[in-house]
Amino acid sequence: MEITLTVNGVDRAIDVDPRVSLLDVLRERLGLTGSKKGCDHGQCGACTVLIDGRRALACLALAVAQEGRDVTTVEGLAGGEELHPLQAAFIEHDAFQCGYCTPGQLCSAVGMLAEHGPSAATEDLTADPELTAEEIRERMSGNLCRCGAYPNIVTAIAEVAG
């Protein structure tokens, strides 16, 4: 099936089998290998990208179902040579070790900071809570880090959240 996507600001027309995930299109067809295949079951978050500005799992998204969507991967976060503030903060705070989960952590954090409303860690559901460390941990629970860099990931995100 022929589909059209906008990926990191560039329109792409791709002919895909309905079985192919958005993750495999990004990595195998478009050469964007920043998004990682960790579990391929939606449990690790390494494949997290932004679809129409919202964080989503590219491994569970069928490419054919994304017709017309705007996709941002980790390759699309920086403005030329200027890193996205979260990328800079991850470096500043040493928020990774092996780096395999980092593209997903970054895309997830960008999406998370744009979200509104409470989380499971929020006591008063009618208020928009401050992004405490506890809130960040809960909101980022879909991104696993086998190196256990969580404390520094939280610090980096908290810095950008202000």
């Binding site: 099936m1 089998d17 309905p18 079985r19 995930s21 391929d40 079951h41 939606g42 978050g45 997290t48 919202r54 964080r55 989503a56 799992l57 569970l60 998204a61 069928l62 054919v64 179902a65 017709e67 997830s108 999406g111 998370m112 979200e115 509104h116 409303g117 409470p118 989380s119 499971a120 929020t122 559901l125 009618t126 941990r137 809960e138 909101r139 980022m140 629970s141 879909g142 991104n143």
Partner: protein, 323 residues
């Protein structure tokens, strides 16, 4: 993954018209795509219903009408849900992860399949996946599975948090299908396994959930609580959606108790509710109510812990809600 055709329906009538055996409806895909990759779901055709104009949340009389294609995250973030149905917002927020909630729809959440390890492994027998093949979970790994309402054929649990809150709220599920439109009350959408564990719900082939309608919020205080093996992004071992309305003299005027993680369906604890109504709110009455429900449990060797866990969760949650 088995080859399939993909089609997108323009409206719900077209989606239903496209149905034939071998067709499955695709919502957010967070469970279905995974099951297809595992070889558990093998549709010939996916009819994508995720872009149908069923994505609104609007007042409905004193209640709320929630379109079936509303994303879980949009449901939990909606001001009317947070204000009037905080138990539902919290149940949704306690489920899955931010990414999954952004993708998953309300209709798909209700129709997600059990996470029983044998159901998800095509190399193993499973009466739900392959009727008549047997249930290895009864002798095997059933630590996370059912203690209430299960059968010799299946001990699976329904994994949804949202459905537990909807069961406590007496939600109504609006459905359209080849036979026309109908309304299915919650609880009642999901079946107990009996001799047909392959059927999760009472829906007929081709029926499509179009909306969930909530009646006016019940009076009283409400709460959703979930016990799980890690602090986030894990399915419930046991969960509870509870509403408690206590008169000025300390008598329980009304209550709702629904349990998750204990049965093939969200488990409305009618025996506990009956014991509570008219009783004097307090630990003794709450413990008696919990016992009235959980004495019916038939735990398996490795999930017996769920019985005291559910009992304690009922008592603790009601104590929090009591004035």
């Amino acid at each position: 993954m088995k080859a399939f055709e993909y089609a997108r329906a323009a409206d719900q009538a077209e989606a239903v018209a496209m149905f034939r055996p071998g067709v499955m409806y695709l919502g957010g895909g967070t469970n279905l795509v995974d099951l297809m990759r595992l070889g558990v779901a093998r549709p010939d055709t996916l009819v994508d219903v995720s872009r149908l104009p069923l994505d609104g949340i609007e007042p409905d009389g004193g209640g709320l009408r929630i379109g079936a294609a509303v994303r879980n995250s949009d449901l939990a973030a909606h001001p009317l849900v947070r204000e009037r149905y905080p138990m539902l917002a919290r149940a949704v927020l306690e489920g899955a992860s931010g990414q999954v909630r952004n993708m998953a729809t309300v209709g798909g959440n209700l129709l997600q399949r059990t996470r029983c390890a044998y159901f998800q492994d095509v190399s193993k027998p499973c009466n739900k996946r392959l009727p008549g093949s047997g249930c290895p979970a009864i002798e095997g790994d059933h630590a996370g599975l059912a203690v209430l309402g299960h059968s010799h054929a299946c001990v699976a649990t329904h994994p949804s948090d949202m459905a537990v809150a909807l069961a406590a709220l007496d939600a109504r599920v609006h459905v359209t299908g080849p036979g026309g439109e109908r309304v299915v009350p919650m609880p009642g959408l999901h079946r107990l396994p009996g001799d047909e564990p392959e059927r999760d719900t009472v829906l007929e082939p081709g029926e499509l959930i179009t909306a969930v309608v909530l009646p006016a919020p019940p009076p009283g205080a409400s709460r959703y609580r979930k016990v799980r093996e890690r602090a986030s992004f894990a399915f419930a071992l046991v969960s509870i959606a509870a509403v408690l309305d206590v008169d000025a003299d300390g008598t329980v005027a009304d209550c709702r108790v629904a349990l998750g993680g204990v049965a093939h369906a969200p488990w409305r604890a009618y025996h506990a509710e009956q014991a509570l109504r008219g009783s004097r709110a307090g630990e003794d009455a709450f413990a008696a109510a919990a016992e009235a429900e959980m004495e019916r449990a038939r735990p398996l060797p490795r999930n017996a812990y769920k019985v005291p866990m559910a009992r304690n969760l009922i008592v603790r949650t009601l104590l929090e809600l009591a004035p």
